[in-house]
Symmetry: C4
Subunit: 199 residues, 4 copies
């Protein structure tokens, strides 16, 4: 599963969805552990040795380097969702900008897009998909608690946004997490573009 994750990280970097050291990526390990990208790495060139093992409280267990600061948020997703195998955190311009434009909105609502169907559990463009937006906070456990409090709906969307910071998406496999990430990034870029034409 790690080689699939590395290929996905590579794809994410090529599409410029995690510039500088933005972005972090993990997969679930057995026994309430996860393999997590280490802090401060250039996300455009991740290798197996750039990942460390930590528990869901973000405590380092094995490997070189320390886990990304956001590890506790990844851990909370694995705790709340036993079937989740992979979490991807991207840091794109459209997600950053749309979430800052809508400074007081706690969710972005998508309606009418065929692409909604790429998110597990959605079957029609006539449904509404709510993607949660949390205010950014340098204290990651605070974000983790917010996620816990809003899990029901966040889980439905298979993703969430931290304002001015980026998108988290997850899935039951690396393949599904990547599909959710691509689908949500697509939807956000569409909404941002549409907004330009509103009077």
């Amino acid at each position: 599963m790690l080689s699939e994750l590395l290929a996905t990280c590579d794809y994410i970097a090529k599409r410029n969805l995690c510039p500088a050291t933005g972005g972090n990526f993990s997969i679930r390990q057995s026994g309430d552990k996860m393999l997590m990208s280490a802090s401060g790495k250039d996300k455009a060139n991740l290798k197996a040795s750039d990942f460390v093992v930590c528990n869901f409280q973000a405590q380092w267990l094995e490997g070189e380097g320390k886990p990304s600061a956001e590890a506790a948020l990844h851990g909370m997703i694995y705790r709340l969702s036993p079937q989740t195998q992979c979490v991807l955190h991207t840091h794109s311009i459209p997600v950053t900008v749309l979430s800052m434009l809508e400074a007081h909105e706690s969710a972005i609502r998508f309606h009418g897009y065929e692409m909604q169907k790429t998110i597990a559990g959605f079957h029609s463009h006539e449904e509404t998909l709510n993607l949660f937006v949390f205010d950014n906070n340098q204290h990651i456990p605070t974000l983790a608690i917010q996620l816990m409090d809003n899990w029901q709906e966040a889980h439905l969307a298979s993703g969430l946004i931290v304002r001015g910071h980026g998108l988290y998406s997850w899935g039951n496999s690396v393949h599904e997490a990547k599909r959710h990430m691509e689908g949500l990034e697509f939807l956000v870029e569409c909404e941002l573009t549409r907004k330009r034409y509103q009077k």
Copy 2:
């Protein structure tokens, strides 16, 4: 012809015209059959084994997996146009957004673009090219019937849009279908950009 289609799918993926599992692609086979990309595949890495044989009613005949949900729309194009050899369905942001902005328009009109000449049968920027837009519908046979009802003009444009969903383009060879797809995607992105400057 399949290797040319695979190279085209690869090109489409590199230009990010079919993110997530959006997009599907087919070529005509002898005897009222088509070779169709299977449902749920990552369109960025299509291989020969990701295609299945089905008839024009979208019924599976051979291969691993099931045909894309939109197969019946591909089939209708092959039925209506005996010379068509290839159908490409892309799922780009500009097509999605422009077709949703123009929520009540049944066509996008292009005029004044040299690029119109890349569509078979057009010879001057002074002509007008009408690209049909159908409302999205999860019932694909409904879209197929709409296409039949509007075939005359849709055929002229060598393409059509399903609102909030994407572009279908076709041609007498993979090469021509790709040229039509690139030309129509170009024209849509130009129109979307121009619209920003309208008072």
Copy 3:
């Protein structure tokens, strides 16, 4: 020089500056001839055999295929400018859109850009660079005559635009023609972007 031109065509295609069969490219040959990309080729995969030899009146002399329709415009540039060795015609979205927005302007004026200095003969951002825009015309000799009539200033800019159609740029080597093309495409995209913020 042809291998350098092929590398440049490849670069142009990768940056999506000549989608579909838009765009054509030439280099001067001895004896009032030029090597010209053939009509109808996919410009993303040009090979040596996709070029034909023709004279400056666009008449075919050697090679497989026929010269691009715009060959007479290339020929006129070589006739007017004995030092020009290469002409590149790109077909980008920003050039198409900006020239159509300014439907009645016969030139785009650039001022204040460091990038102006990449055009031969310009030495400061405080100078003004006028890039001619001609109305599109399916009769290429008409465009060639217009170019002749406006040669003095067009030559200064090392390029010109045909409205809704694209950019021609040229230089004393493939390297210089490419540099002019990149500089002018950059300047046009900047102007188009700036225009969005004007009240």
Copy 4:
């Protein structure tokens, strides 16, 4: 360190951050010298032999070609900041346009972006990052003096903008300079995008 710089130049070219001959790049050498990209090279294909050795006053010492015109600005950064090992000058469309839109502003202020933390010394999106903008000047020593006069704050941002011209970013290693460049380019593109939605 040169091979790391060449890989970074390659990355910068692939992301189209230094079109035409825009952009120049250097690393510190021992004894108040620097290795500097030579003038007039195609920055998309830099090789070791495209760099020359010069002193911090931009005087040529070794190698083929002459140092970039902006070498004196690189030299001033190395003089003011003994720990700086690498200076990158990119020439992107968003930096060019945003700095020209804000024609009378001497700085761009960033607030609320997680990405600010990628700049050395910043720890929260709640801080404010001021990126200096100097008016362009063909006399590079004038820019160097301006930088000296504003060093305290410019150093904080690990970068500065020359209006209509581009971004300079630097760091204690090629890796850090690249991270700062990516972070600042990201922030500028976000600000430019946000500005479109302001009434």
